[in-house]
């Protein structure tokens, strides 16, 4: 599987990961190499097998929806890169 520059840029866009021209070149080669190593999976006979999402047989864990104490707002906002009153401050989403 050989990736093109356009595919690498498309993947980066899906991940909202900024990427330089040099990184496009580097990732194109490296990811293509890694993907080639995945070809071996076509030899695995998985016909009719269910997928495994996680390995311990627990499903649908429920607990009562009871209100409890939360962290204080100031603690939660202490790491905020931008803050206004009790809000996280970001750039305008709609212009």
């Amino acid at each position: 599987m050989k990736l093109t520059d356009e595919e690498v840029r498309h993947i980066a866009l899906l991940a909202r990961l900024g990427i330089s021209d040099a990184e496009v070149e580097k990732f194109r080669t490296q990811l293509s190499n890694i993907l080639e190593n995945f070809d071996i999976l076509s030899q695995a006979d998985t016909e009719g097998l269910p997928p495994t999402a996680q390995s311990v047989a627990l499903e649908n864990i429920y607990r009562p929806d009871e209100a409890g104490p939360s962290l204080p707002a100031d603690d939660v906002l202490a790491n905020a890169p931008g803050r206004e009153e009790n809000y996280f401050k970001v750039n305008a989403v709609l212009e």
């Binding site: 690498v8 899906l14 909202r16 990961l17 900024g18 071996i40 695995a44 390995s55 790491n79 996280f88």
Partner: protein, 487 residues
């Protein structure tokens, strides 16, 4: 008496309980040695001396009141991906360089509840992605046995600190071998518990269906003592199982007469160092002498798909988990723009290192429209095959034994530019995470002056059996008593 920083947990505990030493004395000795040596080893992101001494004073008060459990007052190093309230938790990433968690991870709460002492936060590969600590955004940790070599990773700082006797024990996390591989490279004991045995609450997420916290220790008894404290159900991690926690120490001394051991031949892989293979074969013969029944011809036929399945599953989960680092709520944030999208994209571009970006890209690709079935779904089905291999094997064997890694520790820089070569160093450990079973790495000898790790694998929740087998081997061999001379 030996230097205090060289003590094990059980040795420290005996002295603390008899009031022959205080936790403050022990902690000062550990901090002094750690500070003196860490310029060379670079095991710690930060040494938390003030915090440690306050905890030690509290431990001494607890001991005076008669509350002295095995970890009380004993100093540890904690991998820097476990949240510690009020103490910077970086994940060795620029993204979290200044992140001060507002809460403690579950395992930290457990340690605090018994008045344990945290001496430092250990260096690691950024976001636990790597096998050498070379992916730390800040510096590389050095192997105490040979400072030119890597300590393994991603819990390389934790393993190096334990091996160098710069702490009494450490916690690490293991997604594809990140406790066991560095334990093997540094000649210490490292246990990855069964998935669901230890709560991941407050562990910075990498691949949520594979991540598990576990101990790095100077001997098997210490690993059991740590497991007694950190294991158990936590309602904040709904993948923890509601099972009681046995006393892991009790199980150690019952011997291994009749223990059924299998050697899966697929793990003696191409590219394995012949001397590593020889070391493991000798170690298994020793276990045979101790009364175990060994079958040398076990087959886990789907092992060869493990590496590819892992490097689809783990990056896929990582790409989802790491999407949260958008520069809004915490962490590095690029703000030199009025565009929301540019801010988000540049936050990730400048906040993440190369390996993290590579895995986000890989995972995003494997999950993207048109490729989901071919990669992600296929890998999840292969996961079923690998799990079934183990299920079948454990009908006949109590323990499977493999080398922890195909080679001893490699040189710093040797594989740094070749991701595929680097990924291969986890080929013996990552199938275990895929299946969710427990495994322990213990020292089994030396090749070229570097430690060789031997991995014991068991079925789900068989940690007692693994610890018992590991203990029997350890007590019959001198390896865990050999210590590096740090040049």
């Amino acid at each position: 008496m030996k230097d205090l920083h060289r003590l094990t947990i059980h040795e420290s505990h005996a002295l603390l309980k008899e009031k022959k030493i205080s936790s403050v004395e022990l902690t000062r000795a550990v901090l002094k040695y750690l500070e003196s040596i860490d310029g060379k080893i670079r095991s710690c992101m930060r040494i938390t001396a003030d915090h440690a001494l306050k905890s030690a004073e509290a431990a001494d008060r607890a001991i005076a009141e008669g509350r002295c459990s095995p970890l009380t007052g004993v100093p540890a190093v904690i991998k820097d991906n476990m949240c510690t309230r009020g103490i910077t938790t970086t994940c060795s990433s620029k993204m979290l360089e200044n992140f001060v968690p507002p809460y403690d991870a579950h395992v930290i709460e457990k340690l605090n509840a018994v008045n344990a002492v945290m001496a430092g936060k250990a260096n690691m590969d950024e976001f636990a992605m790597g096998s050498s600590t070379e992916n730390s955004a800040f510096f590389t940790t050095h192997n105490p046995w040979n400072l030119d070599c890597v300590p393994g990773g991603s819990s390389g700082g934790s393993a190096a600190a334990v091996a160098a006797d710069a702490c009494i024990y450490a916690l690490g996390s293991d997604t594809g071998g990140s406790i066991r591989q560095p334990a093997g490279f540094c000649g210490v004991v490292g246990l990855k518990p069964t998935y669901g045995r230890v709560s991941r609450y407050g562990l910075v997420a990498f691949a949520s269906s594979l991540d598990q916290i576990g101990p790095l220790a100077k001997d098997v008894t210490d690993a059991a003592l740590i497991m007694n404290v950190i294991s158990g159900h936590d309602r904040r991690d709904s993948t923890t199982v509601p099972l009681g926690v046995p006393d892991y120490v009790k199980a150690l001394k019952t011997g291994i007469k009749g223990l059924r051991i299998g050697i899966p031949r697929e793990y003696l892989v191409e590219g394995m160092q012949p001397a590593v293979r020889q070391t493991i074969e000798n170690a298994v013969k020793k276990l045979e002498e101790l009364g175990a029944k060994v079958d040398w011809k076990v087959s886990l036929p789907n092992t060869r798909f493990g590496l590819a399945a892992y490097y689809i599953l783990a990056p896929s989960e990582a790409s989802a988990n790491l999407a949260r680092y958008d520069g809004v709520k915490y962490g590095y944030s690029y703000r030199d723009t009025t565009s929301m999208w540019e801010s988000m994209e540049k936050t990730k571009q400048f906040g993440f290192g190369a390996e993290v970006k590579r895995r986000i890209m890989l995972g995003t690709y494997a999950l993207s429209a048109g490729y989901y079935d071919a990669y992600y779904l296929k890998a999840q089905k292969v996961r079923t095959l690998i799990r079934r291999d183990f299920d079948l094997a454990f009908e006949k064997y109590d323990v499977l034994i493999t080398p922890t890694s195909p080679t001893v520790a490699f040189k710093i820089g040797e594989k740094a530019d070749d991701p595929v070569q680097m990924y291969l160093s986890d080929v013996c450990t990552l199938p275990i995470n895929i299946a969710g079973v427990p495994a322990i790495s213990i020292p089994a000898g030396f090749v070229d002056g570097l430690p060789v790790g031997m991995q014991f694998i068991g079925k789900h929740f068989s940690e007692e059996t693994l610890l018992r087998a590991a203990y029997a081997y350890e007590q019959a061999t001198p390896w865990h008593k050999q210590k590096p001379v740090i040049a």
